[in-house]
């Protein structure tokens, strides 16, 4: 059932802001003071009742209404977001901001904030930046008692710093702004015993460190549809409230940087390509991920409101994007254009870094090599393989434009081990798996949909991907799984050994190197293969490049996947339908038309829209004849807004 996010008055006001003259018609039969539902919120699953002619009319209206949604301006979208968040009944800092901003349910907002300020059972990094951000935003509206309680929270509450990159960004943003807000106070006034000056200096030092590390070696928790919000929201807070113009500028540049990083892998609201970490629900159903809210707000895509439940309930129901809606930060138009212009396919590569390795490694932050191929219909992306992140890594997928949920396909080895975790966490190796299972409930599950594996490697060239596995026989869960959504238009096994799938205008050819079985599940078919030396070759096509689905299949049937004696050589060779020869040996070379691919030549960003050399601290954003240059060495922005 769709949620009720608008009251009658807001609904009317909303309609007046839109250009669609058909709104009154479709609103008329489901718009009442007690239950207001936008049809496009449920589209396309909700079927209107009535005779066929009526249904056709309503469908036509829905299509136009859906199309009209993308025409909303940023201002219209932010108003809709604030209105929706203003109706939230759960305690949430960002819902409080929305209520105060829109002057709806102000007493409720103040009561929520009072409760959050008083509740000693909560704390930590999420709390620290959320509390100070809300306080600074709403300070003039708060009663004296709340000023006292919020100040007290930073004196008595444990603000745990955490152990991940996103934790530290939130913690030090919170600490920076709190120390700025209450300067010249001694350690007795702070939860950590440090003076305002000490806290401010430490926070600034870490934020400077993180900005430099990110812009020279890449992010550790990179391109995460969930954790993206934990970087942009603190940066928006910092941009809004840092008094130091240099820090404010750095925050603005980091926002540009993070959104540009997202934009080049963005396709109609989906965060495409490999992800450092994400949750299974978001991986198998990309448009319910938290990043979709930000894509909708800043890029204007997808066309439905993410909180509407149109693609299923959002796993993370936070309203962090409210911080964008109320911020004076505006996304440069050049980045929005990059995010939405899919008129020509492109290859984009990146270098990121592995999260801090504390043991079982020779480098603290080894590089991650990332390859993405973007088209108007799909995005195919991959990380180079191995354990790059614990717990939640998503190594590769093809995500396609679809009006159905679960618009993605991928494989993984559902590996887990205490040793993998001990690379990144200081607790005892032999009990770590159980510990992590307490927080990430699927970690040891053989059917999980997120995992890093030391036995997985990839080789991608444009629309073709080879994924090879060489699984140790003692590894946990020694099998491969593939996610094939039931929402595919077609899926069948061809005599040529290719598995062909069709999803809208996207065609997928999937070639398993070893025998497999299908397991039917609620929203998908699970492809499972149990050979330890294993792999798949995947080639993606589309109507625009391959013609009809039948033509695509015919072309693929004429290709040859050579993997004779694979168990010994671990080598596969494939000539793509475009005639390019790819050869890949596990733990060996990746050869493209006979020439080795050299990951070490990868730039920090390399594609038609973003350019940055490793170590440079300079990001060049390019769109047609426009450029915008972020120079973190000089803390300057040059070029297009």
């Amino acid at each position: 059932m769709p949620a009720k996010f608008f009251n009658h008055k807001e609904h009317k006001a909303h309609k007046e802001k839109t250009l669609c003259s058909l709104w009154p018609l479709w609103c008329s039969f489901d718009c009442s003071p007690s239950r207001v539902t936008h049809y496009w919120e449920t589209y396309p699953r909700k079927k209107p009742a009535g005779n066929p002619a009526f249904q056709f009319t309503v469908l036509a209206i829905l299509l136009v209404a859906g199309a009209s949604q993308s025409q909303f301006s940023f201002d219209a979208r932010k108003d809709r977001l604030l209105n929706a968040a203003g109706q939230e009944v759960r305690k949430d800092f960002f819902a409080i901001i929305a209520k105060l901003q829109t002057q709806t349910n102000v007493p409720q907002a103040l009561a929520m904030l009072d409760s959050l300020a008083r509740d000693e059972g909560i704390g930590g990094m999420f709390y620290a930046y959320g509390l100070i951000g809300t306080y600074l935003r709403a300070r003039s509206l708060l009663p004296d008692s709340l000023h006292v309680k919020i100040r007290r929270a930073f004196r008595t509450r444990v603000m745990y710093r955490g152990d991940t990159e996103n934790h530290w960004v939130m913690y030090y943003t919170g600490l920076y702004l709190a120390a700025q807000t209450w300067p010249n106070e001694d350690g007795a006034q702070w939860f950590n015993g440090k003076s305002s000056q000490e806290n401010f200096a430490e926070a600034k030092s870490w934020l400077d460190h993180w900005i430099k590390l990110t812009t020279t070696k890449g992010q550790g928790e990179f391109d995460s549809p969930t954790y993206f919000i934990t970087f942009v929201t603190p940066m928006l807070t910092l941009y809004e409230f840092a008094r130091d113009p240099v820090m404010r500028k750095e925050a603005e540049m980091m926002l540009d940087y993070l959104f540009a990083d997202f934009a080049v892998e963005h396709l109609r609201g989906n965060y495409g390509g490999g992800h450092s970490r994400d949750y299974p629900q978001d991986i198998i159903n990309p448009l319910v991920a938290a990043s979709t809210m930000w894509a909708w707000l800043y890029f204007g895509e997808p066309e439905f409101e993410p909180w509407s439940g149109a693609r299923g309930p959002m796993r993370h129901r936070g309203w962090e994007a409210v911080n964008g809606a109320v911020s004076s930060y505006r996304l440069p138009e050049i980045i929005r254009q990059i995010a939405t212009d899919r008129s020509a396919p492109y290859v984009h590569t990146e270098t990121k870094r592995v999260r801090n390795v504390i043991r079982f490694g020779e480098q603290k932050n080894p590089p991650v090599y990332k390859y993405t191929y973007m088209t108007n219909d799909y995005v195919l992306g991959s990380l180079h393989g191995g354990v790059l992140q614990p717990i939640q890594q998503h190594t590769w997928d093809v995500t396609f434009v679809s009006d159905q949920p679960n618009n993605t396909l991928f494989t993984l080895h559902p590996y887990y081990s205490g040793k993998e975790l001990a690379m990144f966490f200081p607790e005892e190796q032999k009990v770590l798996s159980d510990e992590v299972n307490r927080f990430h409930l699927v970690y040891t599950n053989p059917d999980k949909w997120n995992a890093s594996s030391p036995y997985e490697q990839t080789f991608q060239h444009k629309n073709v991907l080879m994924v090879l596995y060489n699984i140790n026989e003692n590894a946990q869960h020694a099998h491969l799984d593939g996610f094939f959504p039931k929402s595919l238009d077609e899926r069948f096994e061809d005599a040529s050994k290719w598995i062909f799938c069709k999803a809208g205008k996207t065609y997928i050819a999937f070639y398993p190197l070893q025998p497999y079985e299908w397991i039917e599940e609620e929203v998908n078919w699970r492809w499972r293969s149990r050979d330890l030396k294993n792999g798949v070759v995947v080639e993606i096509g589309a109507e625009t490049t391959h013609g009809s689905f039948a033509e695509f299949k015919n072309r693929l049937r004429q290709t040859k996947v050579a993997h004779d004696n694979f168990d010994e050589t671990l080598t596969v060779q494939y000539t793509t339908s475009a005639g390019e020869l790819m050869q890949f040996t596990y733990d060996g070379q990746r050869l493209l038309n006979g020439k080795p691919v050299d990951f070490k030549s990868y730039k920090l960003f390399n594609g038609p829209f973003l350019q940055s050399e490793v170590g440079s601290g300079v990001l060049k954003i390019i769109y047609k004849n426009q450029t915008r240059i972020l120079d973190f060495n000089k803390i300057s922005i040059k070029g297009e807004k």
């Binding site: 930590g124 444990v158 603000m159 460190h209 504390i358």
Partner: protein, 379 residues
Amino acid sequence: MNSRPFIINHRSCHSGGILFKPNASAREQKDSFRMTVLFISAKLHKTTRSFFLTYWLFHLAFTNTCLAQNMAGRIYAAVLFNNSKSNVTGADRYIGVFARAKGDTAWKNFPNTNLFAFGLGFAQHGATQRYYIAGGNGLHRSADGGKTWKILTGWETMEVLSVAFDPVEAKIIYIATPYGIFKSIDDGKNWAEKMRGCKSWYTDEVIIDALDRHTLYAAVDDDLYRSRDGGENWVALQAGAPGIRTVVQLATHSNVILVGTEDYGVRVTFDEGKNWSGGKGIPATAIYAIHASSNGKAIYAGGYKTGVWRSNDLGQSWLQIWTAPEIEAIYSLFVDPANADHLLVGTNGKGIYESTDGGMTWKQAGLEGAHVKQISILP
């Protein structure tokens, strides 16, 4: 030179050879303490290093007159996680440091310490007593009995897993972290990484030699390391197994050093690290905790699915004295310095278990659900 401190500084600490009668009065404890000190001092006087130890022990005996009374103080437990809660933000009343009076059964949250606690420390220099918590947010210190705390470290050190104090120079502090060993020479104001010679950086524990304050041992992930110059340079001792989880030097036999390893049980040396052998009998699995009785006659060890083991021959051979199916791992061990039959073990998720008969029988002793990383008696 500062006054000689009383220090309890590492997770598997020995008690320093100080003996008390159970339930002794403060006066009796003080007398017992002085007698013990003099006895040990006389015994060690013939050794080449005895002057140093003699000085230390006499100093302890006659300058810290309240020490004996303090040693009958509270038992503290550092709790890292609690199975009854799944809060990852650190604002959890069920983690942190807990204390109870000896003989009592109720544990109370030490003030303002609901945080991820890996270890504890205590240092007394003259009349100044300082408590330390090695925690997820860094190294915490309280100089007022736990009423107020200050985090001494910055972001560079991240989590602090254990702490050690120079026994003479009060301003010198060492910490072990996942990012290496750090040293402060200015009472925690500044920290410098000290890893020259180490092949890996993850360090579970650092301890100071019982006789030479410039000699340190560090449980680094690839080996046990020793520094002879206050942490400036380190040499691997080739203990014969990687994954050093804990290190103990016996106060009563300073040449004897034991390490608990990730996959090879206990390793022991009787010649300061020149030669190593595996403890016989104890399983080749992870050993997280080793603790010796104050007289060194009994050494206890525990780890992953091991139960509690005891050695009566300085770690050469071991016998299992207790196991319980509900306990997956033992993280910490403690032998009451005043009563060698009084043992406590800290578990992963089952709280604390206690024995008052030398390990014959055990009972759950509170903090159920807690992952207890260290147990100590502190003032």
